[in-house]
């Protein structure tokens, strides 16, 4: 058990940091400006491509698929340097961390060859089409239908809360392929191109004022018959794997971003004098401790996943970080005071720390609410009786 990095890791860090600095001082300076908006897609696409060209697209993947077989330590370093550079979350997070990881584990060789290299090259963006108006926590209540028509799947139904769908080229969709089936049986995991007449995307405004998620109407949308991950009717197991990546490994970048956020809040508290307030001092210290614990747990989770022995530490990860970040959002408002309520410009658009107060309300909802996380921990990991179902 050891935390320190090797000289090779330090070299990787130095090389990455200088590459990031060069990009962010040059062509991609806009990414770090405070009013940068994650809906500036042209820029984000160019940024993903630049990462891909430099070999930083998907460092954890095998070289044959566009990766560089990076060690766990190097993945941690990547996340740390990304956050240290002041970048917002990875633009194609859903594609790389959710779909990419799912295909690596469950995709056919053809699917890996077709879909992974464009992720590493930063040329194809993805959305996650799981939730529906009547299938959120109760995800297996999916009503979207798909049927084979010759050499294509044809989809009809509605998805909702689909993040970044308006910038996606593809969407992975959980749809019912066995007519008359109910619950988790009879669902399939399909890969569907977004730019076609049968896919209608309507942005939904969020409580932050931003439009990041969408509702999607599938009206005879088509995809090639080969674009199914796992066997027809076995999509639930694949989707559960996706969710495990979403709640686990993909969150590596989170705690490094939170580190930066907390550092910013500490600096603000020192600047406005509230760091001397005994109660706020105490809460800031607790936030620091909580974040350090999060890092410890995340590293342990990753190490155990790497060894093929994932444990309870991974199962509790989402519940821990979501709750921490929400409390952090509240602390932000108490440290910054009422000034944080005033928008920086003429629009209802918040940035930086104050925005976290609003945005973090989602952290206990997406990827499975806190209540659902507790059910999962209790039922799958602690062996307690399952929920009664209606």
């Amino acid at each position: 058990m050891r935390l320190g990095a090797s000289p090779a890791d330090d070299a990787f860090r130095a090389e990455l940091a200088s590459w990031l600095a060069a990009q962010l001082d040059g062509r991609f300076a806009r990414l770090r400006q405070p009013d940068f908006n994650r809906n500036e897609f042209a820029l984000l696409r160019a940024w993903e491509r630049a990462l891909g060209e430099a070999g930083y697209g998907c460092i954890a993947w095998p070289a044959a698929l566009g990766g560089r077989d990076a060690s766990l330590t190097q993945r941690v370093i990547f996340a740390e340097e990304w956050a240290r550079a002041g970048l917002t979350p990875r633009p194609n997070h859903i594609g790389i961390e959710l779909l990419g990881a799912t295909l690596l584990a469950h995709g056919s060789d053809d699917q890996k060859a077709r879909f992974l290299p464009p992720l590493a090259a930063g040329t194809e963006f993805w959305a996650q089409g799981f939730s529906e108006p009547n299938a959120g926590s109760d995800l297996s209540n999916i009503q979207t239908r798909a049927r084979l028509d010759g050499d294509a799947w044809v989809l009809d139904g509605q998805k909702v809360w689909t993040s970044w769908a308006h910038n996606a080229d593809w969407m992975f969709v959980l749809a019912r392929t066995t007519p008359g089936s109910r619950g988790a049986k009879g669902l399939s995991f399909l890969l569907v191109p977004m730019r076609q007449p049968g896919v209608i995307i309507r942005p939904i405004r969020q409580m932050t004022g931003d439009e990041e998620f969408n509702e999607i109407f599938l009206d005879g949308a088509r995809t090639d018959a080969a674009n199914i991950v796992g066997a027809p009717g076995d999509g639930w197991a694949v989707a559960m794997a996706t969710l495990t990546f979403e709640r686990g490994v993909s969150t590596l970048g989170l705690q490094t971003r939170y580190r930066r956020e907390l550092d910013q809040l500490i600096a603000a508290a020192k600047a406005n004098g509230r760091a001397r307030d005994p109660l706020l001092r105490h809460r800031l210290a607790r936030a620091e401790i909580g974040l350090s614990v999060m890092r410890a747990n995340c590293l342990r989770m990753l190490a155990n996943i790497d060894r093929g022995t994932p444990g309870r530490e991974g199962a509790v990860n989402k519940l821990y970080y979501g709750s921490w970040h929400q409390r952090f959002g509240e602390l932000v408002m108490d440290v910054l005071g009422r000034a944080a309520e005033i928008a920086p410009g003429p629009d209802y658009a918040y940035q930086g720390l104050p925005k976290i107060f609003l945005q973090s309300r989602a952290d206990t909802i997406y990827a499975g609410t806190n209540e659902i996380q507790r059910n999962i921990i209790a039922e799958r990991w602690l062996g307690l009786p399952r929920e009664p179902r209606g």
Binding site: D9, R281, S292, R300, D306, R312, L384
Partner: protein, 376 residues
């Protein structure tokens, strides 16, 4: 970086688990509630034979040259099995204090009987309030030697120690500390073991009335001693977190058993969300505390003084939260039986409290963290 046990560490954990399963099976703690020693000498001898006392001491000092992670592995298992032993007192505190303050030859001499288990040693590092290095004992020059007056509080296994290492203020230099050692029968030394709320963490209260201290018994004096002892306490704090993890795990396991078996309204109570979600939260506390304890052990082992202070503080606060929450919830999940003397829930609850207060409170640790963060 590889934040997982090595094969050797895994083997050590298996050995420790087996050791405590054999020597401290469920129920064994009961006998400790009434016996005067507060620990089982046969178990202690067996532990000594395992060779674990010098795990983290350098080989030059007679140890095995391993680290805090290995020590934490032992303490986690001890905590889980509710098995009080003078391990932390002798190996975690006293031996380390000697190493940190005495010059090399003297240290080897003093350490030999401690590491061989021939004697039990302890460190009196707290004053009456039980806060580390807030001392109420003063050493002053007296003729050719020294004289010790005052008191020390909450000295782990002080009532059975064959050698007591005592941190004291230096009368000549109010800013400096010194470390000295006394035999338990030193004239003027009173060792009292009052009834404690937690019967599984025996601690003695010491009084010093003009205790004569020969110069040879003063190991270290001067400006470096306080910092050296602080490091010793910080390491012991991280080990206490490992013990807390074990205790919290025991809470979770007891509660899970009960929640699966106890039927109410025709269903196991573990099927009610109010109970199962509480258990999920307990699991979150246990696992994050385990991550924190070993992370702290690594940080402390690999880093500088600040890293050690940071690690100890973070581990203490989270470990205390985790064990206290789990112990309280364990009583709640058990209902009436959880409130009885008969059931182990109260033993864990009391352990959780005493562990959270060892060397100082969690609130004070938060203050220290705020200082480390340079929050003006």
């Amino acid at each position: 970086m590889d934040f997982a046990f090595t094969d050797e560490q895994q083997m050590l954990q298996d050995a420790a688990r087996g050791f405590f399963a054999r020597h401290a099976p469920p129920g064994a703690a009961r006998a400790r509630l009434t016996d005067a020693a507060g620990y089982d000498p046969a178990t202690w001898r067996a532990l000594v034979e395992m060779g674990w006392l010098g795990l983290d001491l350098p080989e030059a000092a007679g140890g095995l040259g391993l680290g805090l992670v290995e020590m934490a592995i032992i303490l986690e298992q001890a905590g889980e099995s509710l098995c009080p032993l003078p391990f932390l007192a002798s190996a975690g505190l006293a031996a380390r204090a000697v190493l940190a303050t005495a010059e090399a030859d003297r240290a080897r001499q003093l350490l030999a009987p401690i590491l061989s288990g021939e004697i039990i040693a302890t460190l009196a590092g707290c004053g009456r309030e039980g806060v580390a290095l807030q001392l109420d004992a003063t050493l002053r020059r007296d003729g050719g030697g020294f004289r010790l007056d005052g008191a020390a509080g909450f000295v782990p296994f002080g009532h059975v120690a064959d050698m007591l290492f005592i941190a004291a203020r230096d009368a000549d230099d109010p800013s400096a500390l010194c470390l000295l050692h006394l035999a338990p029968d030193a004239p003027g030394l009173t060792i009292d073991r009052p009834v404690q709320m937690d019967l599984l963490r025996p601690e003695a209260q010491l009084r010093f009335d003009a205790v004569a201290v020969p110069p040879a018994a003063v190991l270290g004096a001067g400006p470096g001693v306080a910092a050296a002892l602080r490091r010793v306490i910080d390491r012991a704090t991280i080990l206490t977190t490992a013990e807390q993890v074990g205790g919290a795990q025991r809470c979770l396991d007891l509660s899970l058993d009960h929640a699966r078996q106890r039927i109410a309204f025709g269903r196991p109570i573990g099927s009610f969300q109010a109970i199962k979600h509480r258990l999920a939260d307990m699991a979150m506390q246990v696992e994050t505390a385990r991550s924190a304890a070993y992370y702290a052990a690594c940080l402390a082992q690999e880093g500088d003084d600040r890293a050690l202070a940071y690690a100890a503080t973070m581990a203490k606060v989270h470990g205390s939260d985790a064990f206290s929450q789990c112990a309280g919830d364990t009583i709640q999940i058990h209902g009436g039986i959880g409130f009885t003397w008969e059931h182990d829930a109260h033993l864990l609850f009391k352990q959780a409290h005493s562990a959270s207060r060892l060397f100082g409170s969690s609130d004070a640790a938060c203050q220290r963290m705020a200082d480390l963060m340079e929050l003006a």
